[in-house]
Structures are given as C-alpha cells and as structure tokens.
Subunit: 380 residues, 2 copies
C-alpha cells in the first residue's frame, strides 16, 4: 500500500505586497535581531532590499547582513555567516534570495549550534537545534522555501552534498511573484527545469499512486503553460504566480506523497556537473540529463513513460514523448546537450566516477558507473 | 494577483499498519492521559479500537473514553466530552472515527479552555487555547483530519454552524486506508461526494489560478476513478488509498490556494438540510444540491463550467457536463433529488429561510432567499 508521512509546518505568505510583512512575521516569534543573508545584490536593484529593511525597522527588529552567496552555494560562505550569527547573537535568520541563499541560510541556522556543520553532510552528526528560519523568495526553482533540505558545495573536498532535518523547515516564507518579473529569461527557464525535474524524479517511479501521479501531471502541465505565457510576456504576473506556486508544490512534499522517496539519479548527475563546472546552472544541467536518462531507463516502467508522453506532452509513445520534451526545452532556449553547456568530452568518465563516489544511484533502475557513463554520453 | 496564506502543520501518517503508531505519536508531545472520542462502536468491530488501546498501553498512556458521537455531531455531546476532559484532567484528545468524531474532538480541545464554547460559533468569542489534537481516521470525507475547522449542530437552537482556528489543526493524524474496506457502499460514496463538493466550491470561482485549477481537476478525476475502482471491488486497497489521499487534499488548503476562500453556497444549503433532516447524510445532500446550483449560477463563470465539463467529465458543453455529473452520481446509487432523500416539498421555503438566516450566501453569485428557494426547487 502507498505509505508515507506528510509534514510541512512552513507558513507560506503568497501574493502582492507580501514582502512588507516580513517584520511582522519575525515579531510573531519574538525576534529582536536577525541575520539577513543574500546574494550578489540584485535585491538592491529591484527594491526588495529596501522593502525588507523598512519592514524590519518598522517592527523594531535589529539586523546584520551577510552578502555574496553564489549559485551552488559554498561551505565557506556558510562558515562566514555562522561566525557573524554567533558573534552578533542573532535570534533568527532571514534568507532574501533564491534557493542558494535559502539553502545557505538553513545550514547557518543549524550551524550556530554545531561544532562543525559539515559533519552533518558527512552523516557523522545530526542536526539537534536550529535558529528560526525565514525566507523571502526572489527566484522560484528549488522549493527550498517550503521544504527541509539544503545542498551545499564543499569546494576544498570537491563535494556537493545535501542534508535535511525537520528543524530546517522555514517558520515562514514570503513569495511575492512579481519581483521575478525582471529575471533574465534563462533564470526563469532554469527554475522551471529544476522544478520539472523534481516532479519527474517522483513521477517516473510511480505505478498505482494515482492521486500523486495525477497531481504531478497537473503541476508539469501548469509549469509548461506558465513558461509559455512568460515567453510571450515576462511581466505576465498571472503566469508568474502560477509558475511560482507550481514550483513550490514541486518539492514541498505534495509531489512525492507515496512515491517511495523518488529516484534522484538525474539530480546526482547534475550535482556532479555543477560541482566540476560551477558556471553551469543546476536547472540547465537537469534539462540535458533528464531526456538522456529517460531514454536509458524507460524500459523499467514503460507504462509510466507512455502516460507521461500522452498526458503531459500530448503525444503517442515513449520515444516521441522524449523527443517532444527536448523540442519544448529547445523552444525555451535551454541547452540540449552537455557539449552545448560547455562540458568537455574527456571529463565524462570523471563526472561518472564523482557521481557514484557515495555508491550506485537511482531507484527505478539502479545505476552503476558504466550506466552513468552511458547516460552522460547520451547527453553529450 | 493570486494571494493567500498556506499553513498546515498537521503531521499525516498514511498507510498500512499506521494505527499502531498512535501511542508513539502521543508520547512525542509528552502526553500521559488522553480522552478518546468515538462514534457508535464500529471501531470495535473492525479492530481499530483494540489496536489503538494496545498502542496506548504499550506507550504507558492512560486513557478515558467518550462514545456516541452521531453524524451531524451535537453540541450536547461536545459538552459531555468537555466535562469528562476537565474532570479527568487529560492532556490531549484523540478522535477515532470520521469527520463528525474529529469535529467534536477539535471543539472539545478548545472547549476545555472556554467558558461557553458555543459563543465561538456565535462569533462572540475566539479560541485562545486548545489541547493537542490527534486523530485516527476511519471514514474519508471531510478532510477534518488535516484542517483547522469544525461544524457542530446546536439542536436546541436549530443551528448547524462551523468555526475554525489555527489551534484546531491536529498535531498528527493517522490514515490507514484499509480500515475503510468494510464501509457500506453509500458511506464510501457520501465521503467522495463531500470531497468533490469541497473541491468544486473552490473550483468554480476560479479564473486564472491555473495551478490550483489543474490540481483540482486532477483530484476530481482521481476521486471518480477511485470510486469506480471500489465499485468493482470494495477491498481494492489501491483505490481506497488514492481516494483517501485525494479526499484529504480536497480540504487541507491545497485545493483552495488562491481561490478566494471558495463559494460555499452549496455547503450552506446542505447544512440546513441535514439540520432539519438529521438522517440525511451531508455528502448525499451535496450530491443533489451541486448540480442544481451549477444550473442556476453557471452563467456567472461560463468558461470555468465549460472547462469542468471538458476536463473532468470529458464532454462538450456546460449542460452536458451537469448531465454527466448527475448520471455519474446515479451510477453510484447516490440520490439525485431532494425528494428521493426524503425532503418534503412544503419544507423548501423553510430550508431556504434557514440557509440565509445569517445573511446571503455564495461568492460566485451572491444568493438571496429567492435564489436559494429556486435552487432547492431545481434540486427537488
């Protein structure tokens, strides 16, 4: 029987003029001093920073700032922020940014109470306590705003690993979709690709979990429809809002209910790629890897791949489903090969080795080194 | 723009052999003595009671019992249970049953801390505190196991009213779908009809909320498919599980995200019917009222009614959508008229008056006394 736990206590505040509520949300938990964590400064251009600060000030909340979180966020930045949080004795952390900023902020929240937070990623320690986490989302992609996991890159040891704990659920997250109206097109697309990949990691191992499978088809179709809307008009706030909510639902527990934890082989491969090539966006890598993986493993669950072709891409068979998916991504100007993304052919073997360094990957079809290498070749 | 808050901290434990986890779940919040609230005794026949009690015993948790919650649960039973909870100084409440038992239990949890809990329904008081609430679901219908509202009938004053508070979210709810395998067919159908109505209350006021609209279509189609599966085999545990999860998603916040609070006119009418005729099941009344309401108000949002016909019932236009819905319910042996349910024609006016006694109803189309009377006539 379908068995699972569903638990997600994050309060989501969604819609127009919601960022200005951040001070009140922090006040609700009695916060007096917060560490704000952010990226490279785009929030100063689109007014998000000013609205945030004004709201903190209005609610009598002191704040400190830690800037410079990059894509594929680094352990070094996490450690820098933990040091500030400890020195300044903040009582809460606030991410203002996309998934990288939120993931960093989550690990800072736990890191304040840990001897060495990386030991948690090494599975040698558990998260025992964390500061209350708040987020203001500026780029929909990872759903980190409404889940309890985080992925961090340890550059020194060449590892990009994830961890999770119920203590890492944000207390509250604000999604004001119109702040994403000014995103570059490729960032919108990469966010959509990341979310589609989250949903597909669950979807393709499905068999009889009709409720989750049907909901996932609805989410995939909505994401596609919304991106098409934004292609016509990047300031179409209705498409922007629908895309944002579908992306959050893509990895907040709803998409995975009953689907045995998901497959995640494509994510493992993509993490290796952006670990070796930090300039390659996670969503971009996923958009290339997924069709190659589908081609390699579809015989393990042909009914479900056929269903995907029919219900999501409105075509007849597995092969044309994969073809139409690639055509769709191409029409969004997404890369369709690893070569196009800048990966070198001579690195494929090493990428495959990195990917299986913690063991074989995947669930629908367990992939060994040779399988991963083959998929990367398909994707090249 | 679509604006809403989403917050639902209930932990859902779903699947095979999950009832036996209740003791552990109570222990997690430090409970030592719990008040178990139940209906007329069916849980003694299907072993749910024994498994529950064994789990409590194994975890060293004392318990008291309050039996006899009826369908359309009464304020009198709520007051009886509050008295026991206070006298016995329990530290938690546990519903073992369907929506009526869960609603009763929620109001008991809050009633322990109130002078007169009915004042909350009269909107003269607010819920300030509540005991931790736990539930073991034995009949999927209301989604009360994963939301924060409750409906109670005050027989003396002839009122069936609802209330809600974030304090009424269960801490944890257990759904073990196979315990529903032995339900009479009409109870399975009434549960499905209740859930379809919840979803449709939101769905039909939709316009641009694509994510929620598409998810709701997925849920409606899954409910229909699952009921069809159970019609063939009532012990088809896969259909039972998919139905249970779709029903919970039907009113746990997901189905309503961005959909302006829903319409609820059909629920208001159905509440009056089961207030005057307590033997009429809530789901049964909704199955009759909804098609009549659709016929009366469809011109207020024709696009959405057309979309429903096409995407949920696979037919062409609004009228045939309503017709196919009625045919579907008929094929499930559900009543298709108020007359069939046992309502007397001479009561229609009084039912209409009861329905608008707190003001006009509905949102898509605001309904006055004459409108309600007309819809009831359509349904008769």
């Amino acid at each position: 029987m379908i068995s699972y736990n569903f638990y997600n206590p994050t309060k989501l505040v969604f819609g127009e003029n919601t960022i200005e509520k951040i001070g009140e949300l922090l006040s609700n938990v009695g916060s007096k001093k917060v560490l704000m964590i952010a990226g490279s400064g785009s929030i100063k251009k689109n007014n998000v920073y000013d609205i945030t600060i004004n709201s903190l000030r209005k609610n009598g909340i002191e704040w400190r700032e830690c800037w410079g979180v990059r894509a594929n966020p680094s352990l070094a930045k996490v450690r820098e922020a933990i040091a500030i949080a400890k020195k300044e004795k903040v009582d809460a952390v606030l991410a203002v940014g996309g998934g990288s900023v939120i993931d960093t902020t989550k690990i800072v929240a736990a890191g304040v109470y840990a001897d060495d937070i990386w030991q948690v990623f090494e599975r040698k320690e558990k998260i025992k306590k964390a500061l209350p986490i708040f987020t203001i989302l500026t780029l929909s992609a990872t759903a980190s705003e409404m889940n309890c996991s985080a992925v961090i890159s340890n550059d020194e040891e060449n590892k990009k690993w994830g961890t999770g704990s119920p203590l890492l659920y944000p207390v509250a997250s604000i999604i004001q979709p119109d702040v994403q109206n000014t995103l570059p097109w490729n960032q919108t697309v990469n966010g959509a690709l990341d979310a589609m990949a989250h949903i597909m990691e669950y979807y393709f191992i499905g068999t009889n979990e009709e409720t989750s499978i049907a909901v996932n088809e609805a989410l995939l179709k909505t994401i596609i429809k919304s991106v098409e809307g934004l292609k016509v008009d990047a300031k179409d706030t209705i498409s922007r809002a629908n895309l944002a909510w579908a992306i959050t639902l893509g990895l907040n527990g709803i998409s995975g209910a009953g689907l045995k934890g998901g497959d995640w082989a494509c994510h493992d491969m993509s993490h290796s790629i952006s670990c070796m090539y930090p300039q390659i966006a996670h969503g971009g890598a996923l958009g290339v890897i997924f069709p190659a993986w589908m081609k390699y493993v579809c015989d393990s669950n042909p009914q479900q791949f056929k269903r995907f072709a029919k219900n999501v891409l409105l075509t007849d068979d597995i092969e044309s489903g994969i073809y139409e998916l690639k055509q769709l991504l191409k029409s969004w100007n997404a890369a369709t090969s690893l070569r196009e993304l800048g990966v070198k052919e001579e690195d494929l073997r090493k990428l495959a080795e990195m990917t299986v360094s913690r063991g074989n990957i995947g669930k629908l079809s367990v992939l060994r080194l040779a399988d991963v290498e083959k998929i990367l070749e398909f994707a090249f």
